[in-house]
């Protein structure tokens, strides 16, 4: 069997195993895998904008929070079912991305990064301020619903969808154009690429996933408040996962999410500040020593295809 065939077979077996897991798994195991799905979807989404175009989003958790609040409000106020509310969460995140992305991505340079740095705090302030709709600091309690297994599948679907999307983008002309922007934006323009529009499309794609996942997480946790859905730490974790795994690759974010989530659960959850300090150091170390991440190094050493 060719290496590619082995890889595909392995993927099919893995997906099948994850699909039957709820029937045999423990409650704790199910929750852990659900969380890994969530992190895969988040990390892969960050990769779509920052890994492919080189424009760093320092506030991606804002889309997660926007999705969580949209979902929770639609479920509690409008009586929507959670799967449709989750899709609406994705849409809401895209709207936020459009409002921020349109002015900031027309410009080259650090404007986008800094605008994203502030976005999270601003959304948190707005959510706290409009108490009538969002419950302010008291948050929103969702009606009780035993839906761990359906949410497990929905989260898995989201993770698979974003990963597939990344594969489709990276193998498409659209993806090549994005990577051209990353390597040399002026050259990309000279070749006739409408860079502002391409960056904006990539940004919208990268916002949808966190929005959907945010709404699913809100349904899963049953309670949200401004502090719990807009933590800076979530953005940091997304960035670390992608950088560690390999930015701009299909499987780098997946690898990073699995490895870092497992190590976080086993060791680091007990030392929160040390944990964040470690994440900061990982970012510094990867940028200086291994800018392509683990997968990038493997790709180069073993001449693997770009789509791995």
């Amino acid at each position: 069997m060719t290496p590619r065939g082995t890889f595909r077979l392995g993927l099919v077996v893995l997906v099948a195993a994850l699909a039957v897991y709820p029937a045999v798994g423990t409650g704790y195991g199910l929750r852990a895998v659900l969380q890994i799905f969530m992190w895969i979807a988040l990390a892969a989404s960050w990769n779509l904008i920052s890994g492919l175009t080189g424009y760093v989003s320092f506030g991606h958790v804002a889309f997660f929070g926007a999705g969580a609040y949209t979902g929770a409000i639609l479920i509690t106020r409008a009586g929507w079912s959670w799967p449709t509310a989750a899709l609406a969460g994705g849409l809401a995140a895209c709207v936020v991305a459009l409002v921020i992305g349109y002015p900031c991505l027309r410009l080259k340079g650090p404007y986008f990064a800094i605008a994203m740095l502030g976005l999270n705090e601003v959304l948190r302030a707005l959510v706290s301020y409009f108490e009538g709709l969002t419950g302010g600091g008291n948050g929103i309690s969702l009606p009780t619903l035993e839906a761990t297994v359906p949410v497990y599948y929905a989260m898995g679907l989201a993770a698979a969808a974003v990963t597939l999307l990344t594969y489709l983008v990276i193998t498409s002309r659209f993806g090549l154009r994005l990577m051209t922007i990353r390597e040399d934006e002026v050259a990309a323009e000279a070749m006739g690429i409408d860079t502002a529009r391409h960056k904006l499309y990539a940004f919208l794609l990268s916002a949808a996933g966190p929005g959907i996942v945010g709404a699913l997480a809100a349904r899963d946790q049953g309670y949200i408040e401004p502090i719990s859905v807009f933590p800076l730490a979530t953005t940091i974790t997304m960035i670390v996962m992608v950088l560690f795994g390999g930015k701009g690759t299909v499987w780098g974010p997946v690898l990073g999410a699995v490895v870092l989530f497992v190590s976080q659960e086993l060791v680091w959850a007990r030392f929160p500040y040390l944990h964040q300090l470690l994440f900061g150091s990982i970012i510094v170390a990867v940028v200086l020593l291994m800018p392509r991440g683990v997968l990038g190094v493997l790709q180069q050493r073993y001449h693997l295809p770009r789509t791995i």
Binding site: G118, Y129, L277, I283
Partner: protein, 292 residues
């Protein structure tokens, strides 16, 4: 909000806005210097301000020294720290794509904040030195903010003079205009980069020292300053140092005005909306282009 706005209140807003503005401008000047000379946005600028505040707090606590007298010491400490950061880490990404320098300084920022959490705990610390305010007719001038205004304006003025008049300042401006030509003229560009980063960190440190007398100190106080400093730069026009002064005062005024009508928390949202609007309408800043 059902509050009647009197002229006195508006006057107060203008006073408070201008007082806050000089501080914003001075801190932003540091960020603008690094950006102008190295094309690097230092995400860790705010956390450096936080370290400055802690430096002043510990000197004040240990020696009982007047916190305003600690400003030179704090600036020296931060200058050394900044030059060290440049020498060990940041110099490697000066020529790299923007993604690298942004991520690197972001990583440094996270590391600094969490080191502070570990070393100093997240307890609120305060430097209670001058409280109260001077009154002039219906207007109140908070003493600590007035002193901060004077010191910040003086320091910003000194940096301008330094850049304009001294040989080192000229070398810094030359490097920011064209590194290659500066190199040909015999400027040690690496050294200039270290000094620039040091001065920028010292300005952040001075900001921290001044802020420590005004608000409570905690490890996460800094991050918002990175954002605000950048906002000041965008308002004034990137690379336009006098523009930073105008931007700082404008940001102070907008924030004060917003807090008159809305909550303080939401005034940050107003500043953010201001940033997005400026980028939409006039991305080169109010005073326009790059003049070094």
């Amino acid at each position: 909000m059902n509050v009647a706005i009197t002229p006195a209140m508006l006057g107060q807003v203008v006073v408070s806005g201008i007082l806050a503005g000089a501080l914003y401008a001075m801190v932003a000047l540091g960020l603008a210097l690094i950006f102008g000379v190295m094309r690097v946005i230092n995400i860790a600028h705010g956390p450096l301000l936080m370290l400055g505040a802690y430096t002043t707090f510990f000197i004040y606590q240990a020696l009982g020294l007047n916190p305003y007298l600690t400003v030179p010491i704090t600036m020296l400490v931060l200058f050394i720290l900044g030059a060290l950061l440049q020498r060990t880490l940041v110099y490697r990404v000066v020529d790299a794509p923007e993604l690298s320098s942004l991520l690197l300084t972001f990583g440094i920022s996270i590391a600094l904040v969490n080191l502070a959490q570990l070393a100093f705990t997240s307890n609120l610390r305060t430097v209670e030195y001058v409280t109260g305010s001077y009154t002039l007719g219906p207007l109140a001038f908070s003493k600590s903010r007035l002193i901060a205004f004077v010191v910040a304006a003086a320091l910003a003025g000194l940096v301008f003079l330094f850049l304009q008049r001294t040989r080192l300042g000229k070398a810094i401006r030359a490097t920011s205009q064209s590194r290659e030509v500066a190199m040909v003229c015999g400027v040690d560009v690496q050294r200039i980069h270290r000094i620039t980063f040091g001065i920028a960190a010292a300005l952040a440190g001075a900001g921290g020292a001044l802020v420590s007398v005004i608000v409570a100190i905690q490890p996460e106080m800094g991050q918002i300053w990175t954002f605000k400093s950048f906002l000041v730069i965008v308002l004034g026009g990137a690379g336009n140092y006098p523009g930073a002064l105008l931007g700082g005062v404008l940001l102070g005024l907008v924030e004060q005005l917003a807090s008159l009508f809305l909550t303080t928390q939401l005034s940050e949202a107003v500043a953010y909306i201001l940033l997005v609007l400026i980028l939409l309408v006039r991305p080169t800043g109010l005073l326009g282009g790059r003049q070094t």
